[in-house]
Symmetry: D2
Subunit: 289 residues, 4 copies
């Protein structure tokens, strides 16, 4: 029988908690019932918390707003670290001028825009402006025509020697209890194998996500890696990445990894979380208020 740890007892040992979003705080039906109590408890205890999420479809402000609409008002934009933010930092540092072509919604592109750079959807690239394209970014699986725009993307990348950025490493995401959807990371992997060039990927399990969050933590407090806990529902992103970065990790069973599979998967993959908990929800009884 699987021995589960108590989530409240686990977080009591740490000063800072990193949360994955999907499968931990919310699922396809919305926020997990009761999850706001966990945040109220952390606030009361003076713990720091951050959302570390593979998502480039919206800005941190928009992501925060979606939590607020669901009733989780604790999450402010400055507590969110997304793969979209790493993409924006990359473009700010490394692409000085010209056009950034993108696959995704207009809204996803809006966030990565900065002074000097113009974003244009791949569908708007043609012989008149292709020479000014200095980077191409995979942002979101929506907002474009897959057949025509993916073929166009392949040919832009063949003709231009430019950095290609994948702003979300996930290959699929859950849509309903039984269905998944192909994510932009899966689409980008296909294009990469067709063109044979190496793309730049941002997202867990890559260390750069955790470092961005860790830098944010250290900008307003002193904290060592041993004082930070990563909470996630997926072994090969949240747990592998957190472990490798040197954090303790807790696998919750409210998302990608189900109770009946957890031991077999840990053994098969060789990825071992520090703790395993039912979910990140703390019950009213435990809180005592």
């Amino acid at each position: 029988m699987l021995q589960l740890d108590n989530f409240k007892s686990v977080i009591d040992k740490y000063k800072v908690i990193f949360f994955d979003a999907f499968g931990v705080l919310k699922n396809y039906e919305g926020l997990l019932p009761g999850i706001e109590k966990t945040f109220a408890y952390m606030e009361a205890q003076g713990k720091e918390y951050y959302i570390v999420t593979n998502d480039a479809s919206r800005s941190p402000a928009q992501l925060a707003e979606s939590y607020h609409r669901g009733g989780l008002t604790f999450i402010s934009p400055d507590r969110i670290v997304s793969s979209g933010m790493l993409t924006k930092e990359y473009l700010d540092l490394k692409v000085k001028d010209g056009i950034v072509a993108y696959l995704g919604t207009v809204n996803s592109a809006h966030y990565i825009e900065s002074s000097g750079l113009k974003t244009l959807p791949v569908s708007k690239i043609d012989s008149s402006n292709i020479d000014k394209v200095n980077a191409l970014v995979f942002l979101d699986d929506e907002g474009f025509d897959w057949a025509s725009d993916l073929n166009k993307t392949v040919n832009i990348i063949r003709k231009r020697t430019i950095p290609v950025i994948v702003a979300n490493t996930d290959r699929a995401y859950p849509l309903t209890v039984s269905d998944v959807s192909i994510a932009i990371g899966g689409i980008a992997a296909m294009v990469e194998s067709v063109v044979g060039k190496q793309f730049i990927r941002f997202g867990k399990p890559d260390a750069q996500m955790f470092m961005f969050a860790y830098d944010l933590v250290r900008s307003h407090m002193k904290a060592g890696k041993h004082e930070i806990l990563m909470v996630g529902d997926t072994l090969n992103t949240d747990i592998l990445g957190g472990n490798k970065f040197g954090l303790d990790t807790v696998l919750v069973l409210s998302g990608n990894t189900l109770a009946q599979d957890v031991q077999a998967r840990i053994t098969a993959m060789g990825i071992v979380p520090t703790y395993i908990c039912e979910s990140a929800v703390i019950s009213e009884d435990e809180l005592g208020f």
Copy 2:
């Protein structure tokens, strides 16, 4: 300097010639000018010839017809071996009843139909008939909506433990002198990596293509592998596959592999053709008729 072999001298040494289609007999502009003389010569010399092609978009009859329209009347349907034919053989032998769901045009599906099996495009699969789906086939990159039908395909394969067949291993194909198009083999590789199951692939360089052609040869003549020559423009399909099957191979420079790159590519990949020729076209001078 690259030492080229004379194509006529090369084929003079063999009884049977296998030809790749795209990049050897035709390109995006149509048939190679003069290619019909090569076939006239082979006819005059009593040589056997076959087209061995990664193509599941049309039946052998339709493929032959397209050569006839271009003026190459030598190519009859019984001289064509396509990856679509292997797919049809697989379904005939291994799938006894139910629905074969497919991605491709209605025409591509027509050819693989057989008694007892019903083909349905992925777009027509829903909760009412998904339990009868006993195989899923990737036929062509056209004829379906990429975004909705690829997501649907992922979920059908997750729900049904059935064989998934990829009827063309190519990842891309040339569209114009400068542009390529993503092929159904590239799309299938993306879906395979998302669902994590193993698909069945038909097409060069796989030995089964060459065996199908070799069986066809032996059904009306005696011939050893050493009497057969494979002519192709692509090192890692035509040449690798031909070599591995035990055939002598000739790389022609009229398609995928350009004269200026050929030595570097052979060295980099470690795939060595028996001969290298400018093209499969025999000039009028050489023919002397």
Copy 3:
């Protein structure tokens, strides 16, 4: 509960049976007790049978002898199809002269020798003879010093543009009930990724193994693919390869795939055997003689 098929009833439906060796006829302790009764039954019924095995460590004669020593006298050398035989055919057809360098035992090299070709262990290749090396073959994980000879192999392949043949695709093989050993296929994959060239692999699940066996069958009888059954213990070699070639397949639970894992593995891999049986042993009761 897993519904198992009766092995005797299954083979009763076919004219020809292909058997994998390890995990089906024998394991690390020797021949499966009672397996000779299965062969006696097939003889009595006039069924044809062949051993189809990923093994290049010995010749068919030596492989047959090892069955005879164990008491299974039915298996003659002409009923064995090994990946070593495909390697030999390749060298006979495609390498005309010079040296074939190899990794393996002296005995494994003995079998692939033929007129005109000299085999030499990698350890004997130096600046005086490297220019005559026209092929390199991975035969067996024994018979050489891994550290020095694998480094030497890497450098021979970097310097010579020659075919590199892997005579056994397996990555590991069982040694005892709890331990495995790295196979020559795993070693070759490492060397391939270090040098970045494409090797030629012989062994299941590749169609060429099954074709070699099928050609052997047809050389002394008439048989269609639907009359042949492949018996194996491994989903992604025996069953995947048999299915793809168009044969019906039976997975036995006496080797690589255990009863408690079989359903989960079939679902995870998407590889579906036609039948599942306890083992290839037919009990005395069933035989009635």
Copy 4:
């Protein structure tokens, strides 16, 4: 014609310079003649410099000593960031007790030892102590018997669900002008594919290497990523990793990438350095002292 940048002019624009070691500061013959002048210049200009190297065979102190022996006395241990240091940090943070089994020399293991953890070569693991093995580390390609210890490693990892750390991601390293040697990263990839579990890798191009160096920089000065330059000879480690972390990068042609190949490789891989320079050596003339 390739337009090269002047190395001195390039580094004049940055406050901090990160150097790869092999191919940049030294090659198989020792230190690059004149490289000490580059360091004298940086000292004179008050620039910060660090060595960022995929090496777990020795401690920073031993690495520094080897530069001193060669006459490059500027490089102190606190200016070295190695993949071995990341490995040590991982073990300190994540493995509390028990045995760390390793592949490598005794010296390589000495450095990763810490209070509470005992290191033991894989050859010393047996049934009496395997239950105490809480991590396994690939350190160096020397110091062990490849055949017996790699097979033992496979079986330890199959039996124990523990983190497996690869302390150097390189697959090969140059030995002489014409020969390479398989590196521990190549060996680890083979073992990973045989056991099917996911290992933890430290080394360029992974962001964690650059972050470790960046944290070191910021511990004694204020510096933004745009003020740091990465100097390397390899596109898919130094340049890809530096670019992705947001640093400007310079490719030098004194190591892995040769002048005649550089444009073709950049185009093929799609990895674009900010600058390309002959080497990191500044000539006496330029220095003017």
